[in-house]
């Protein structure tokens, strides 16, 4: 391993400590009234519905007309929509006692939609229509700061041109015009619909039902999504909608809703979801007590090695926390639930184990044999296989969970839309944490010790946990 100078080694340790503090505290400033987040801290951690609360939509399988719908079918449709849109952060189940379908979405969604908007889109009837005209005039800002049409439930555009009988599906696409990327939604019609569309948009036709150069709008239930002016002859049965407010995520979700079946059910009850309400002080207390106890034991027992182990543990904690929060302002991060917190703690434990295992071996060797800092790398060599093996085994388990229980295309194709977000989150944090442990439990301790042994104070056996004056 290439040797660094003494100053560089100390600077590297300081950098890790500064990064640890930054990843916990974050950094933001105010520009006028606006808060500008540069780096995210622990306060910006997104919490799932079990830790941070959310909204709960209840869907009664018996409609007002007393038509009964099979609840599992409703569940399947919502799952299909969520899977196609790549949404993992929700809980969906049939309440055994009532037969109601319940959909819970966390307040901190990892998407452009707020909890309420996301839940209402996922549980909407899915009645897709293309109507005459457009009824909105103004944009407003939704809970996530995105522009939306103000007049959601306007009923002015009542003339339906195409409904689900004509619409076969939708595709979300992006188009680049003059260097600007536009997110578009292609609505596909069946043969009958395509024939009507061709007829309606024929500029040479002279009929009352012509929509050539007219505006038509695209609606999901009673919500207008976008509008377009039909200024050319459309013969292929595809109408393309685009809008300033369209993003890749939005068009993906709209396409997912159109491609899944309609439900004919609407949420009957909306309430706040129950959650653990764990105060931040509790998490801080746990982390604080464990850290202080650990620091005391490590430094008391292993001295220099203990200090280096602590720096590596800080590095692991800071890097994993940065991954969970997203760290950079525009990065997404992940929505943490209780199982993800468990995985976080487990990977930290793994780092502690890796570091302590090595330092214990060094201490034992220096106690039993003559103190010789030059042979440190020998002890590392003998520990490598075990630490590496543990990391690989945990990585394999985490990878299978991550791949199988998420919304990866292959897993959905093979096993259907049965993502389990809690296992997926557990596996994601475990996967990243273990991958980081290759650095903090495997490379960093050796790197630091090899560099720090050149310092004068490190030339004594007691600094490695050995006997005094050895």
């Amino acid at each position: 391993m290439k040797m660094l100078g003494k100053i560089l080694s100390v600077m590297f340790v300081l950098l890790i400590l500064i990064f640890s503090i930054l990843s916990v505290s974050g950094y933001s400033y105010y520009f006028g009234d606006n808060k500008v987040t540069v780096f995210k801290g622990i306060k910006d951690l997104k919490l799932s519905e079990d830790l941070g609360g959310g909204v709960k939509f209840t869907l009664d399988p018996v409609t007002a007309d007393e038509i009964y719908f099979d609840a599992p079918i409703v569940v399947d449709i919502i799952k299909e929509r969520a899977a196609a849109a790549g949404i993992n952060d929700y809980r969906l189940y049939v309440q055994d006692s009532t037969g109601n379908v319940e959909l819970v979405v966390p307040n901190d969604t990892n998407s452009e939609f707020g909890a309420f908007e996301l839940a209402s889109f996922l549980s909407c009837i899915g009645d897709v229509t293309i109507r005459e005209g457009n009824s909105f005039q103004q944009y407003a800002v939704d809970t996530k700061g995105n522009s939306v049409f103000t007049d959601f439930y306007d009923t002015e555009s009542e003339t339906v041109i195409f409904d689900r009988n004509y619409i076969t599906g939708a595709k979300n696409i992006t188009r680049k015009v003059d260097g600007v990327t536009y997110h578009c939604l292609d609505i596909e019609l069946n043969l009958e619909g395509a024939a009507f569309l061709s007829q309606f948009t024929d500029p040479t036709a002279n009929s009352d039902a012509s929509y050539y150069n007219s505006t038509v709008s695209f609606w999901l239930d009673d919500r207008m999504i976008s509008y377009v002016t039909l200024s050319e002859h459309l013969t292929e049965g595809i109408i393309t909608f685009t809008d300033e407010s369209f993003t890749a995520e939005k068009t993906k979700l709209y396409a997912a809703i159109i491609n899944a079946d309609a439900m004919l059910l609407q949420p009957t009850h909306i309430q706040d979801a129950e959650y653990y309400q764990i105060p931040l002080i509790m998490i801080t207390l746990i982390a604080g007590i464990v850290l202080v106890a650990l620091a005391f034991v490590l430094i008391y027992r292993y001295k220099l090695c203990g200090g280096i182990a602590l720096v590596s543990i800080f590095f692991q904690f800071a890097m994993l926390l940065a991954f969970c929060t997203g760290f950079f302002a525009k990065a997404g991060g992940i929505v943490m639930d209780t199982s993800a917190v468990c995985a976080f703690a487990f990977t930290l434990m793994l780092t502690i184990f890796s570091n302590v295992y090595v330092t214990e071996k060094i201490k034992k060797d220096f106690t039993q044999h003559k103190f010789a800092p030059a042979t440190i790398h020998e002890q590392f060599k003998s520990c490598r296989a075990l630490i590496f093996g543990i990391n690989v085994i945990v990585l394999l388990v985490a990878f299978v969970g991550f791949f199988m229980f998420g919304t990866s295309g292959l897993a959905i194709t093979l096993f259907g839309d049965s993502a389990i977000s809690s296992i997926h989150k557990f596996s994601t944090v475990l996967l990243i944490g273990t991958a980081l442990n290759f650095i903090s439990g495997y490379i960093l301790p050796e790197f630091f010790l090899l560099n720090f042994r050149n310092f004068k104070f490190a030339q004594k056996a007691e600094m490695f946990g050995g006997k005094k004056n050895d």
Partner: protein, 213 residues
């Protein structure tokens, strides 16, 4: 304290413990029903989940066994098969421990089971590593029961650190969860502690017995 532990003698107590937890858990599940969130009732766990879980387990078992084979050649196959058997037993035991302690059978149950499986695999790996190192040190080619017993003890000492650390963190979480009134979370403390301790101890006890027979 660890000097006195004879893992060969711990085989039957481990077996009785696993069996007792299984029977008690099953009886409690049948009589009182699973105290569970709606999404984890049998109605909600469709075939897709079960098939997926089955495949996941198969993938994990195959991949880990392959890793053992790559690392330890012929012996690795035995370690791998042993890891699979111990992980399966410990996963079932940890599930029923959640039932016995009346913890909600939800996402955290999966976390408890996965932790138990991970601890089992780590123990098997630590043992494989210790035995291989032990054989190298003693310049022997074949393992003897005495060596296995010694190595089991050594592996247990190595595993004491992650065990103590995890239990320490869980006890603090348990006390704070009780203080802050999050009793639902506190219910998981005992299943986790029991399942990780039993995973480590029973794995080593099974290994000793396996070599003896």
């Amino acid at each position: 304290m660890t000097k006195k532990i004879d893992f060969t003698k711990l085989f039957f107590p481990s077996l009785v413990f696993s069996g007792a937890v299984f029977v008690l858990g099953l009886l409690m599940l049948l009589i009182f029903g699973g105290k569970t969130y709606a999404e984890f009732t049998l109605n909600n766990l469709c075939w897709g989940y079960l098939v997926k879980t089955g495949f996941s387990l198969a993938f994990v078992f195959i991949l880990t066994t392959l890793y053992f084979v790559v690392c330890y050649k012929k012996k690795g196959l035995w370690f791998g098969i042993f890891g699979v058997a111990a992980a399966s037993v410990n996963a079932v035991v940890s599930f029923f421990l959640c039932v016995v302690f009346r913890a909600n059978l939800g996402e955290l149950t999966f976390a408890v089971i996965l932790l138990s499986v991970l601890f089992t695999y780590i123990t098997t790996l630590v043992f494989s590593f210790t035995v291989t190192e032990g054989l190298k040190e003693k310049k022997k080619k074949k393992t003897t029961l005495l060596l296995v017993e010694k190595m089991c003890l050594k592996s247990f000492r190595t595993m004491l650190l992650p065990l103590v650390l995890t239990i320490f963190a869980i006890i603090i979480s348990f006390v704070l969860a009780l203080i802050f009134g999050v009793s639902d979370l506190a219910l998981y403390a005992f299943p986790v502690i029991f399942s990780i301790v039993s995973s480590v101890v029973t794995t080593l006890a099974y290994i000793c017995r396996f070599y003896k027979s």
